[in-house]
Point group: C2
């Protein structure tokens, strides 16, 4: 058994991605951000859908249609495959812990 | 956008299961327990694997090999398909909010 809030690296100069489960058709990932936006340029354009929940911290996702959404602790959103999106902002004050399910 | 901690029913006389995502090969579910153990008799014996994290509250899972594990906030565990298990206990003091990914 592990804890989703444990083993947060001290060096968060870059976002940290940890794979928790890799099945044939699903990938569960923990992402730690701290003041990051991503990707550095352009948009995420993923072949799979992604369901994501913020478990600590705060973030803003933006979409290519100019909409955006602020995610606080417990907020979750489903991002269909190929819906172009980016992480516009994460709070610099604390780690933002995301749980992402790619399916 | 929704919040995983919102819309917790007042009536928790039975466990509450909410399906958040239903894909071809994955099902994401929120489960609310409050003092429940489950199933009422016997064991869960599932065709799919289940990854589960406790986001609020506290629970004990037990397995057919007599092992058990206490899950507190943030603790997660992967339960392979057909590994027989049951929820032995959840705290009666508050809701236990589980996030389960069946895959």
């Amino acid at each position: 058994m592990n804890n989703i809030f444990d083993s947060i690296p001290g060096d968060l100069s870059a976002e940290v991605f940890d794979q928790l489960v890799a099945g044939d058709s699903v990938r569960i990932e923990r992402i730690i951000s701290k003041g990051h936006s991503s990707p550095e340029t352009g948009w995420y354009d993923q072949d799979c859908s992604e369901w994501v929940v913020v478990l600590r911290g705060e973030a803003i996702l933006s979409f290519m249609d100019d909409s955006s959404v602020t995610l606080k602790v417990g907020d979750y959103i489903n991002i269909p495959a190929h819906k172009k999106h980016r992480v516009l902002w994460t709070t610099p004050e604390t780690e933002t812990v995301w749980l992402a399910v790619h399916y």
